[in-house]
Point group: C2
Chain length 195, copies 2
């Protein structure tokens, strides 16, 4: 637990460039929460009221289609932020769910508290704006890969962009993230192992 | 020409809620430019230094794969903004091109001038931040559609989200945007016409 938190402190000090006082302020507004495997953080239709930093573990954001199939739009590993941005910013019912793929420890801020922090820590606001922009580029590039590449190219890109993730989730979840069938992905993996 | 500009003024006054003085300031920092059909606004590898508002006409943003195939990530019609955000914000070589699909009239701001406007018109900064967020939601939802839907569902979604666009661009460009083959899309359109 102390190690996780030390990682968060280093990230805040070095990456966000918070002062010690700002870091303490940020932490004092947060609540730490331990999630069991499969525990749900956000359901479809709920309003997402929280910003989340993952100290340890692994979350996914996904949406369930009318036919019951699940489609994963994001994997979030330790050391990263997550939320459901549209629901969080506009207070609208979420079209996505978030749950834990492993036992996970998160820090959680309510929107009201995080907005208040922006006034007290202008650097935090600038950092968050930059994260939103970066997220936009990542999504555009992922969209480009999805429309321009075949299943094998998409899988190779995933392995590059998500080091270590492929070993932590079942094959059908990677297939869901890539938008390919489990059978296709299974064939690609077998061919690569043999090749 | 006057009509186009009247539309821009109405948009600035009603949607962005600019005062008359702010609107004049915004316009005074811009340059109007007329583009021929197929004229290029941004090449891959160039740094995107401009923010663009389309008064009249139609642009596309696309990327060319190593194999020479073109993949369209965005159609931008009159009354909307465009830029290549990653290159624009980070001053990095653009991975995308922007060109005109029809004779097009745009208003153009350099990044330096637009950043200066943010200091003079705080409302413009808030509006731009909201556009970036909205863009993120749109891209996430488009990604969801792309990974969760078959070619026919994707085409139907495109027709709904891009009213009028399907009649303005050749079939192979819609196929490129959807990430499906021209043959598949042609089959879907024929079946829908017959159905």
């Amino acid at each position: 637990m102390n190690n996780m938190f030390a990682g968060f402190e280093a990230y805040c000090r070095e990456d966000i460039k918070l002062t010690e006082a700002e870091f303490k302020l940020l932490c004092s507004a947060s609540v730490e929460r331990a999630l069991r495997r499969k525990e749900v953080l956000l359901r479809m239709g709920e309003i997402c009221k929280e910003k989340i930093f993952i100290l340890d573990g692994f979350l996914r954001t996904y949406r369930v289609k009318e036919d019951g199939s699940e489609h994963i739009v994001q994997f979030s590993t330790e050391g990263s932020w997550t939320t459901e941005p549209e629901s969080y910013h506009n207070a609208t019912p979420s079209q996505y769910c978030i749950d834990a793929l492993e036992p996970t420890t998160v820090m959680v801020w309510t929107k009201a508290d995080f907005d208040a922090l922006f006034l007290q820590i202008p650097r935090m606001k600038a950092f968050t704006d930059k994260m939103i922009s970066d997220n936009m580029y990542i999504n555009r590039n992922r969209l480009y890969t999805t429309i321009s590449s075949n299943a094998e190219e998409r899988y190779d890109e995933f392995i590059k962009s998500h080091p270590g993730v492929a070993n932590r989730v079942p094959l059908h979840m990677i297939a869901s993230y890539l938008g390919v069938s489990r059978e296709t992905l299974s064939r690609i993996r077998h061919a690569q192992v043999k090749g």
